[in-house]
Symmetry: C2
Subunit: 425 residues, 2 copies
């Protein structure tokens, strides 16, 4: 006689998730706390630079210090994010613990003397190196070590920006161009969320960006309940954002290659880079493109926040930030690329909004996430970041801008260890 | 002399996107209009059933009509969504045009006589069969036909629920369990967005669901600015939602297998199914679990909308909807599974909210998207759907509920042609 097969519940999923939760807790607590300390120091170091503007002249010296720190104590840690991604792709020598303190100190050195850099690279490396340590402690096998490293990346990213969902999806999405694997979906979200909570528990708060524009929908064709003009502007802007990502990635790589080829003494590279930055500041008569760019030395400084207001950025602010950052990171200083990418995007969005008569705060917000989406090839993480940072009302525009930027940013990005899985065209 | 390689802009991306836009327009216009007509008829057919409640007694007869329609005119069209997914995985005989009118007529027959079914299957099949036709007209090669079929799915899904971003990501995510490929990222968004605009242009509006709960954050541990209790409830609820998806998928498949084995005359299967549904209605003394379930025959009917209110669902409403739908779709009636999954999820969310003293509208909204996420293995599309339908404020809870449901819904789902790419544990 035929007996219907009744469904059996597979309880292995519970033990699977519980195991990863147990592994996520120490990694997230450590990474969240370390990132909290990093953000706290970063704030103080930035205030220090605002107060003592002569610190800028120490930039070449800081570059030399960073160079020798990595030369003497760095081993393979200088590869940074790329090393972590390589270790996830093909586990090798592991991610060394020294990566965390080294990147913390060198990032602070970069910021206190005015290098134009970010913080996500630092946070991701802190998370990755702590995860690497945990993997060795718990004697995980290769496959589990890969997942734990992804969780470390997610934890660092989620904590540093206060965007846990984005952190988790970013860690899944960034490894390959054109494909996402769900193997570590929930473990990454656990790590990212716990790290974000830990970081907040230390009293760290994140900058609030607001898109106050309210779309009143005045359709061109009355029967179409849709703001066609705005959509068209967002598509065009998305293409510009993607080209900016492409330009930034290529310029950084080119500066790195070129200076390594032309300058025989490697410790001279950051010295030259530091001097170029100082000269650029004097030529421009502005220090607004130094440092993180979230806050400014003066109330009328051009910052990421000011880009959300009409008149809050000059026409070429995006380009100057791009140039300052490509020189800083291409010539041996440390930090992340993402916050400067936010700046370039928001400033370019501001400029495009002026030219196209589009709402400034919306365009700045779109640039903020879309230049990042193009440069790291993570269109979905950045769409989610839009929701986590600015609210969900314009999610469709976030997606249109990020997806378009993804297509226009070329077949590579800022992370050379990212693997091309599926051609964009 | 070394010359730096200056970046070259790859203009092929523009022609690539323009080509897909040209292909998206006819598919989206046709699919959007067809779906608009379908939604309009579905509304009228449902109102007809509310007015003439004796139509329920014709359910067995409608089942026989559906059986013979597919037997005489259906060819391979009865495989429905699974056929479209198979054709995307491995292009074979193509998706026949007859699929669109057949699924439209049989879905309306199912709904007018009170079968418990949805609409997304119908819309996706409409989109897929129109895309198949376009592919043959434009003589596309295999690879392009696959992308066009995905665009058809995205168009149908985006238009039927008014959620264009969800439609696009759903079409990318549903093909494999555990992996998403970005090959058709922007083409799918174009198709989905244009189809949604087309559908709206015909005057179709979508039901509005609101989560009005505002989290005031009363942390258990004062230094943790986070609502731990609520998060814990959401995790537990996510597991329940996933198990419900699993139970529904297994029950549908089991009913289909069992009835095909036990009932010799195939046309008798829907007759028996129809009679069971009628008997169940009399036993329960309620017709609330018939049809789509978005609106009700009486003001105090249990509907998806009422599930967002305290007292809007009975403790076992989710189970009855599950049973009604599994019988309807497992025994030969037509329509989608998704709207009934919304119902099950919202009703279960309502029940769980009562038991755990959690906010009813939030839990109903989470169930709405998470049971769907588990049954179709599309956790990211469903997280985005939460934002598109309910707003972005609780995106983290959407993700936690959907990701957890994804882990607890087993290694398959309602679509048997979905391929397991990466084990969940």
């Amino acid at each position: 006689m035929y007996r219907p097969q009744w469904p059996k519940i597979d309880f292995s999923v519970i033990s699977h998730l519980f195991r990863w939760l147990l592994l996520a807790v120490p990694v997230a607590l450590a990474a969240g706390s370390f990132v909290a300390f990093f953000l706290w120091s970063l704030d103080h170091v930035t205030l220090l630079r605002y107060r003592y503007s002569w610190l800028l002249f120490l930039l070449p010296l800081a570059g030399v210090a960073i160079y020798f720190l990595y030369k003497w104590a760095g081993k393979n840690a200088e590869a940074g994010n790329n090393l972590i991604m390589d270790e996830i792709h093909e586990p090798g020598g592991g991610v060394p613990l020294r990566m965390a303190p080294l990147v913390l100190i060198t990032t602070l050195l970069t910021h206190v003397t005015g290098g134009s850099a970010g913080r996500e690279g630092t946070a991701v490396q802190i998370g990755g190196s702590l995860a690497g340590l945990a993997g060795r402690w718990f004697k995980l096998n290769r496959e589990d070590t890969r997942i734990l490293l992804m969780m470390g990346m997610a934890a660092g990213f989620g904590a540093v920006f206060g965007t846990p969902l984005t952190g988790a999806v970013f860690a899944l999405e960034v490894l390959f161009i054109g494909r996402m694997n769900y193997r570590a979906l929930l473990p990454c979200l656990m790590a990212s969320l716990l790290a974000d909570i830990t970081c907040s528990a230390w009293g760290i708060t994140h900058t609030h960006y607001a898109i106050t524009f309210r779309d009143t929908v005045q359709p061109v064709l009355r029967f179409l309940p849709f703001n066609w003009w705005l959509l068209l502007k967002v598509v065009m802007a998305g293409a510009c954002f993607g080209l900016t990502s492409y330009f930034f990635a290529e310029l950084s790589h080119a500066i790195k290659r070129y200076s390594n080829r032309k300058i025989a003494y490697k410790w001279l590279i950051p010295v030259v880079g530091g001097i170029i930055i100082i000269v650029l500041c004097f030529l421009l008569g502005s220090t607004d493109y130094l440092g993180l760019g979230v806050t400014g030395a003066r109330p009328d400084s051009i910052t990421i926040v000011s880009c959300f207001r009409a008149g809050g950025a000059d026409t070429f602010s995006w380009y100057w930030k791009l140039l300052f950052t490509a020189i800083t990171l291409g010539m041996g200083f440390k930090g992340g690329e993402v916050t400067p990418l936010f700046f370039m995007g928001a400033a370019l969005g501001n400029t495009l909004a002026v030219f196209t008569h589009a709402p400034v705060d919306l365009m700045a917000g779109l640039g903020f996430i879309a230049v990042f989406a193009g440069a790291t090839n993570t269109p979905l993480a950045c769409t989610l970041m839009g929701v986590e940072l600015f609210g969900g009302e314009y999610i469709l525009y976030y997606a249109v801008a990020c997806f378009t930027a993804y297509y226009f940013s070329g077949q590579s990005g800022i992370y050379l260890s990212q693997r091309l899985q599926s051609s964009k065209t």
